[in-house]
């Protein structure tokens, strides 16, 4: 087939450019515009150049210190969330039933937390974890543990983490379950014939087959937990003190609480770039795994040809005599 080259075809892309311009580029440019200026309202702007950025990225300044504190908090939170939800999700998926009516029941129960709006989740846990009227908080306190999520830093963190695990582990589990369901029975049968232990079945069959969905699960959970806002805002409002003030909460405090639009805009851009960078790392890892495979495949094909040759020769002879 001959491909015709016609530069006018680029005009066909224009509608997409127009839509993307209105949905993403123009709003983003507004933020960029704010981030290089200072304003005191009344539509009066003063040019500040890269001033906000310099201050933001310098931990010695008040603004920079506050930003890096929130950044570490967010990163720590995401790391803890991934460390708990991914293994737990795999474990749940492994214990879910494979057939029968129990499947439908389990899937519905698993999906329930995913259907609850974020601020409702926050409210549920705010009440649930109270030591006076909340069952969870009451029982913890009755057990003799000093627990108060509005005053204790550790209590607040633990509550938010448990809340997120409760809310989102289902997602990881459902993704892993889909990966597990796609493994043909022959694999398990072959493993039984080969005398594989439960652990060997997991490491040689189930985990490799779940690799792709796990990558998606990790990516989704990282982005969501790194951008988390609603639930901790409802539950702790970022406190006690600034203990649970994650990047998103700090950003809102800055932009809407203090009305520091320039600083907030600069922070938005950097925040955005961090998420982009992490996604890029994930993307690169994914692509590179495939590149390695492609090289391996080419090499394997050569070796396979070499292996096939000696086998083919006697066969041809046998074919003639037959």
């Amino acid at each position: 087939m001959n491909k015709t080259v016609n530069p006018k075809a680029w005009f066909l892309v224009l509608p997409v450019f127009a839509v993307v311009a209105f949905s993403a580029i123009i709003p983003l440019m507004t933020v960029v515009n704010y981030s290089v200026q200072d304003t005191f309202g009344n539509n009066q702007f003063f040019w500040n150049g890269l001033g906000w950025y310099q201050e933001l990225l310098d931990p010695r300044t008040e603004f920079g210190g506050r930003f890096f504190d929130a950044l570490w908090r967010s990163l720590l939170f995401s790391a803890i969330i991934l460390a708990i939800e991914v293994p737990l999700g795999i474990l749940v998926a492994l214990s879910m039933p494979r057939r029968g009516i129990a499947v439908a029941f389990t899937l519905v129960v698993m999906a329930l937390p995913l259907l609850i709006p974020w601020n409702v989740v926050g409210t549920i846990w705010q009440v649930f974890a109270r030591t006076d009227i909340g069952l969870f908080g009451y029982l913890i306190e009755r057990a003799g543990i000093d627990y108060n999520y509005t005053q204790g830093v550790l209590s607040a963190w633990i509550t938010i983490i448990i809340m997120d695990v409760w809310h989102w582990t289902s997602l990881v589990a459902l993704l892993c379950y889909a990966g597990l369901k796609s493994i043909p029975d022959a694999y398990y049968q072959a493993a039984r014939i080969d005398g594989a232990s439960r652990l060997a079945v997991f490491t040689t069959i189930q985990l490799p087959k779940m690799r792709r969905v796990l990558l998606i699960a990790v990516l989704l959970r990282f982005m969501d937990s790194f951008m988390i806002y609603t639930e901790p805002f409802v539950l702790t409002g970022g406190g006690p003190g600034n203990a649970t003030t994650f990047l998103s909460i700090d950003l809102v405090k800055l932009a809407l609480g203090q009305f520091d639009l320039g600083k907030a805009a600069a922070m938005s851009i950097v925040y955005n770039l961090i998420i982009l960078a992490v996604c890029w790392v994930f993307y690169t890892v994914m692509v590179n795994v495939d590149v390695e495979r492609r090289v391996a495949r080419a090499a394997t094909a050569d070796a396979a040809d070499a292996a096939a040759l000696p086998a083919a020769a006697p066969v041809a002879v046998a074919g003639r005599t037959a």
């Binding site: 072959a190 070796a303 086998a311 006697p314």
Partner: protein, 361 residues
């Protein structure tokens, strides 16, 4: 190394089977000799995979016993039997190398490391996998993957039988042929029982010393490829084996004469004791019915002649019924009218589908 006996084996997937229709596998009694190459042949859904899974222990039969060398293994789990199985879709452990794949069954059975290395090297050489031994098994072609699955069976020194469940389904036709020859070669070299499940008659007939034909959950005939061809015990066998299959014609039989709508055909044997209510049919393979332009025989109308390369097959109508017959070499057919000659020694009589052995005339 074992002699496998199926003793009154039957299986139903329903929890409480009532009639024979509830059984996926009707009662089977059979013995598989040590070192034999067997094929289980039948169309999809005839129960051959069920039978295979019962032998390998993936399915526990509803009734009957399986004996390996007189040891009852009916309820033993798969891993406790000395059985290897190769599946329809190649199963390899993606993250392991070819060598690690081959070593996997031995490693799981805690075999000493030196023995593993030695066995793996030996089997890799046997299957021509040596150049690939350090590669990941992930991106290999289906035929190489099937070789690896086969190798995982062969690597165990104690394997009594290797079961193949339509192993060549996903393989290229050309490579299919090579792999089948490799299997045959392996069977000759290693004294090992092989049971091969397939719905492809060519695969079954070229691979096996003994072919077991199954139909609707029952074994209809087991015998050498020649027996299945020359004396089909059931019209199903006649029809299923051979290309084109055996002609089956409803008829009336009196003594040594068969009548198809008034056309009389002489038989080599006499059939006096046929059950009166049974459906009587005549079975004749196209290879033993020849069409000539004129001469001695039954008048037929030729509708088409297919040249299959090794033979020409004429589609004819005998008293309005379609039939396939061979056109001998150097014979030219002109027009539609011809005569059909039968080899009486190869005409079989079936009552309700089963072969009836007549008395010598």
């Amino acid at each position: 190394m074992a002699h496998i006996v199926l003793d009154k084996l039957a299986h139903s997937y329903k929890p409480s089977p009532k009639g024979p229709d509830d059984y996926a596998l009707k009662q089977i009694d059979m013995a598989w000799e040590q070192g034999g190459a067997y094929a289980l042949l039948g169309p999809s859904g005839c129960g051959k995979t069920t039978l295979l899974n019962i032998i390998s222990g993936l399915v526990v039969p509803t009734a009957g016993r399986i004996l390996f060398d007189d040891r009852d293994v009916t309820r033993l789990p798969t891993e406790a039997r000395n059985i290897a199985q190769v599946f329809q879709f190649p199963v390899v452990y993606d993250t392991l190398t070819v060598g690690e794949n081959l070593a996997f069954p031995l490693k799981n059975r805690k075999v000493p490391r030196e023995t593993i290395a030695q066995r793996v090297a030996e089997i890799a050489r046997l299957l021509d996998l040596t150049p690939l031994i350090g590669r990941k098994a992930r991106n290999l072609t289906p035929d190489l993957k099937q070789k690896i699955s086969l190798g995982r069976g062969l690597v165990r020194a104690d394997v009594a039988a290797i079961l193949f469940d339509e192993p060549l389904t996903v393989i290229d036709p050309l490579i299919k042929w090579q792999l089948r020859s490799t299997l045959k070669e392996l069977h000759r070299r290693l004294d090992m029982t092989m049971i091969y499940v397939t719905h492809d008659q060519t695969e079954a007939l070229t691979f096996a010393d003994k072919v077991v034909v199954m139909h609707e959950g029952a074994v209809v005939q087991s015998g050498t490829p020649d027996e299945l061809f020359a004396r089909p015990a059931h019209t199903f066998v006649g029809h299923f084996i051979g290309s084109p299959g055996m002609n089956v014609l409803p008829c009336r039989v009196d003594g040594d004469t068969a009548r198809i709508d008034g056309t009389a055909i002489r038989l080599a044997r006499a059939y006096d004791a046929l059950p009166p209510a049974a459906r009587i049919e005549l079975g004749i393979r196209p290879e033993f019915a020849t069409v000539h332009p004129k001469g001695h025989g039954v008048a037929v109308r030729v509708t088409r002649v297919d040249d299959l390369g090794r033979a020409r097959i004429a589609r004819v109508e005998l008293a309005g019924k379609p039939l396939a017959a061979t056109v001998p070499e150097h014979v030219r057919l002109d027009g539609q009218d011809a005569v059909l000659a039968f080899d009486p020694a190869h005409i079989h009589v079936y009552a309700d589908g089963r072969l009836v052995v007549g008395q010598p005339v």
